[in-house]
Symmetry: D2
Subunit: 354 residues, 4 copies
Amino acid sequence: MAGNTFGSLFKLTTFGESHGRAIGGVIDGCPAGLELDLEMIQHEMNRRKPGQSAIVTQRKEPDTVEFYSGIFEGKTTGVPIGFAIHNTNQKSRDYSHIKDSYRPSHADYVYDQKYGHRDYRGGGRSSARETACRVVAGAIAKQLLSNININAFVSSVGEISLDTPYHELDFSLTESNPVRCPDPAKAAEMEERIRQIRKEGDTIGGTVMCVIQNVPIGLGEPVFDKLHAELGKAMLSINAVKGFEYGSGFEGAKMKGSQHNDIFNADGTTKTNLSGGIQGGISNGMDIYFNVAFKPVATIMQSQDTINKDGEIVEMTGKGRHDPCVVPRAVPIVEAMAALVLADYYLMNKTIKI
Amino acid sequence: MAGNTFGSLFKLTTFGESHGRAIGGVIDGCPAGLELDLEMIQHEMNRRKPGQSAIVTQRKEPDTVEFYSGIFEGKTTGVPIGFAIHNTNQKSRDYSHIKDSYRPSHADYVYDQKYGHRDYRGGGRSSARETACRVVAGAIAKQLLSNININAFVSSVGEISLDTPYHELDFSLTESNPVRCPDPAKAAEMEERIRQIRKEGDTIGGTVMCVIQNVPIGLGEPVFDKLHAELGKAMLSINAVKGFEYGSGFEGAKMKGSQHNDIFNADGTTKTNLSGGIQGGISNGMDIYFNVAFKPVATIMQSQDTINKDGEIVEMTGKGRHDPCVVPRAVPIVEAMAALVLADYYLMNKTIKI
Amino acid sequence: MAGNTFGSLFKLTTFGESHGRAIGGVIDGCPAGLELDLEMIQHEMNRRKPGQSAIVTQRKEPDTVEFYSGIFEGKTTGVPIGFAIHNTNQKSRDYSHIKDSYRPSHADYVYDQKYGHRDYRGGGRSSARETACRVVAGAIAKQLLSNININAFVSSVGEISLDTPYHELDFSLTESNPVRCPDPAKAAEMEERIRQIRKEGDTIGGTVMCVIQNVPIGLGEPVFDKLHAELGKAMLSINAVKGFEYGSGFEGAKMKGSQHNDIFNADGTTKTNLSGGIQGGISNGMDIYFNVAFKPVATIMQSQDTINKDGEIVEMTGKGRHDPCVVPRAVPIVEAMAALVLADYYLMNKTIKI
Amino acid sequence: MAGNTFGSLFKLTTFGESHGRAIGGVIDGCPAGLELDLEMIQHEMNRRKPGQSAIVTQRKEPDTVEFYSGIFEGKTTGVPIGFAIHNTNQKSRDYSHIKDSYRPSHADYVYDQKYGHRDYRGGGRSSARETACRVVAGAIAKQLLSNININAFVSSVGEISLDTPYHELDFSLTESNPVRCPDPAKAAEMEERIRQIRKEGDTIGGTVMCVIQNVPIGLGEPVFDKLHAELGKAMLSINAVKGFEYGSGFEGAKMKGSQHNDIFNADGTTKTNLSGGIQGGISNGMDIYFNVAFKPVATIMQSQDTINKDGEIVEMTGKGRHDPCVVPRAVPIVEAMAALVLADYYLMNKTIKI
């Protein structure tokens, strides 16, 4: 089961390497009759693309999506939506430093071991460039689920953490700063931290929180395909992610049942929401919220020892234009993957009752 | 896509409710020619079963597995392995308190909303009783992967946390105490905490850590079916799980790249292992380790307000024999799900090169 | 992808060998709230079971289904329906003649070659006994699709062919004779032919036609999962099937477009139906009809040369009680598989439009 | 389960409409390290493309494949192979005759009913143009299975049938004539028949036979995914196919077991091969052979009555350049689908034994 397809009914299959001719994909199962706003799709792409601000990689990739099929007279037709994003950045660069050597904490070594033959240019298939395709599909999924609000934002950069409960935040401020943190003061702190880390030739990790509101009750397919299990897989499949927690998360493991239980109101809503909007793997109508941990980018502008194909120790220094911190650009990716999961489960849920 | 199948090549499909006639399943795709140790399977079942110690639920369920097919003269034949565990505990109890009322932080309400008609007895399909089937299949997966060592253990109960790095622990001590913590002193503390919480009629959360050693390099199917993404989904699909992190996990999000990178040794191993044995979604031969957070059990022996089907507020007190803390019994379940993931990816990896 | 699951949304997974403890399966994805008539299910089983008439195998297998889960208070709950049929015919017989020798035109040889280790008793997994599980699931699918009429019948036995167009037949007569041919005169001829062939210690092939009426327009998922493609696969997966054709079938290949085109009536129905109720892989509301060819049973009561595991030529004569002709018992199996396909595609079609 | 993916391990997902910007697809699961002959792929495309001879449609479509990913330095890398074929024939034609009217025995009507919104230009997604993508993937599958020989050829056009047993044919002659029949005399007869039918403004059906030689023993995944069942589905998914039979096929249904059984030679081969190279759904190493029936093309150059969207009867005459008989161009498509099935089952079979 080659792993380049996500979803069962709303299904995305992607292809493409960082420095190949194009990346792209096929969205199969998008219902017919959906009026598509193509500008909104490109807008989502722009939120992810390199070079958008001073604190992300300065590579220039226009990331323009071309749709090949599945859309006719502005509406989906129910047949597969094929698309491609041509790589304009394919110039024959000098890759000798990664052709035969394995960058520490990158996938170079395991790709070579697993496949025996790899496209080493810019990380090839293991590059986060592939996430652009997820954003395309996620943008369409968002349009399918126009009643559901999906808002991700940066909740920490390194040790700097946004501790305000999410319902006290104004999500409309998320895009007001390059960090994508809806608290402007915290955002400034985070931005400063990222600038500093970049000067050091280093990188730093962070977390992204995602809040999903107005979800219909009933999404989720126990016992294995619980809604949060698929959300977790979706997030963990994003490059650099090390952890996922929803609702009370790891803090919940420290609590007592009498503290943790969400007591019902008469209308089926709950007074608290430590459950994070999901019970037994099924959405209960309350807000879904979760945290995603991203490790620091492995490419640093400092000299490190590493090994080459012959098992010799060699010295390596990062080249090219890399992100000092991925979380600002990860925000739209987290939203996209959440949208893909919800679209899939929304369609599945249509088949549950006679 | 009804969600009761796990895996693609080594594939488990389960059925069964807490108080129905039987639970069971079908394991399809187990390779032929595997000599099966049936006692080992039952032994794994016994590690999960109720009533095994003073700090778990005192229900009596023998949990005896009957195999119906797929095994002949002691060896697998490559055809599906059907099995059932008959429920001996089906006595017509008084379920009136949960028939029409929804227990807080249980799945009763969402099952009713999603399916319209549910078996309310003992939680029905949403009961953790279904995990017994996972343990059966996991025990077979472990036998398939006899070279790989999978060791889970309790790493915290409430605020009591085992902070010793795992490589300083002696896993052979895990089964020496009812908590399943390999540090006897911590285990005693945890046990005491659980006894006390039970006296209070309350419950408490905890975490389980799992360490997988001697994994071949190359398991994992990017970009969506990364090894840790599937492990995450597997763990999150277990009842009561709220979070998953591997390698550096959420701590990694606070680190700098210069601290976090795992520098290679000449033989391809790494000096540190913040990556947690997985790079770019593919095992790199180092130890895989991850943490799983479990919330406190929702059924408490204290009175709580809740609602009934008519949306009236009613008072409810937990009945029956429930676990004050699930983590001791969750240890074999975590191991089983890890084994299922690895077995599946091990088979997939046979198809990757010409 | 071990091949023991059929369907995507209405999904049957089966297990079991001819002479193991039990055969059975799991039906996952049956919508919740379906009132099940269990007697009808057993009735369908009885149509398939051995010993039902003088012209089928005289083995005695009661084929009683036990349901383990998924049904509560007479209705489906939307969770998996587990079931088993215990083999009562497991007596330790003498299998020495097939333990080490390979019966001609049976699967013994290829199972040994593929799996290396096989349950040789009564054909093991390759026995048509597994089709009993298909009939169980098909009976439930029929109940889900209560508006759709699925009628299969024997259309030929050897050279004796029923050439009456299906719309001139009275399907209520199908069960009036042991052959399951709705034309009593032809049925008598066929029955006589089967009796004679049995006396010769020989077997004979035949065909089953299936007519599906009142199908909603729109079922089918091009381009690969066309409705007739999945029906074809479903039929070809039944033991002994050698061919499938729908609508005009092989005769259609001899025709001209001007003869073959089905001209529309104003209401979207067509004046003729050479298309067989499916256009471009999607049901058009007209009757779906198809033919299925079954080869003669390979076990004959005559001496044949064959080989043993050591590649030596040995003589073999069929033992046991076998069908001289499978088509009478194949009728309910064909209907069951058709019902499974339709149920699956009926659910899929709920997800196609916004 | 939107139906645009074929295969489980060697997996093709396609997109594209007849007159959209491009058709294309993603091949996921092709093993790494396969040296690809791109000219051979284009050669296979040319066998399918329009305008190749006087007896097929005279449309001009160069059908040039562009590969976007998955191939590096001439070899597959194990990651998805994305490709596109740009439609050069997109000129804004006059489609008014099919925009609002439904062509008889075409999919126009059912697409409108199922999806509610369709790309009517040139048949949109229901056009056989999509089969070009199958030929691309099939050509790669053939290269993966370089030891297996897959030879399809035209076995009948209308009533003109090639009755020579396939082992008396010289497959190297298949490409020697525009009909793709390896018997030059029959080919001439068939060609003449097609020319005549075209003059009449009519079309005619035909059959394609396919012979697969040198297949390893053991391919096939009972009980549902039998090798011939998947081959049958593969063939039935091709546009215009009405029937599939393998080995003795429908003739086998008339035979007696004593005639039909294939008696073993000492080496496990069989003296006859009525089984068609498959026993119990698993290849037995003998030649696999099957027949595929194609209906006459529905678009004829004669006036026919049909209906429009408003249910009014309107007159319609075929426009454009259409095939008078599809079987010559279907030959490479049949081979491609056969190759896809075999590649998938070849990979699956690597996971069967410990």
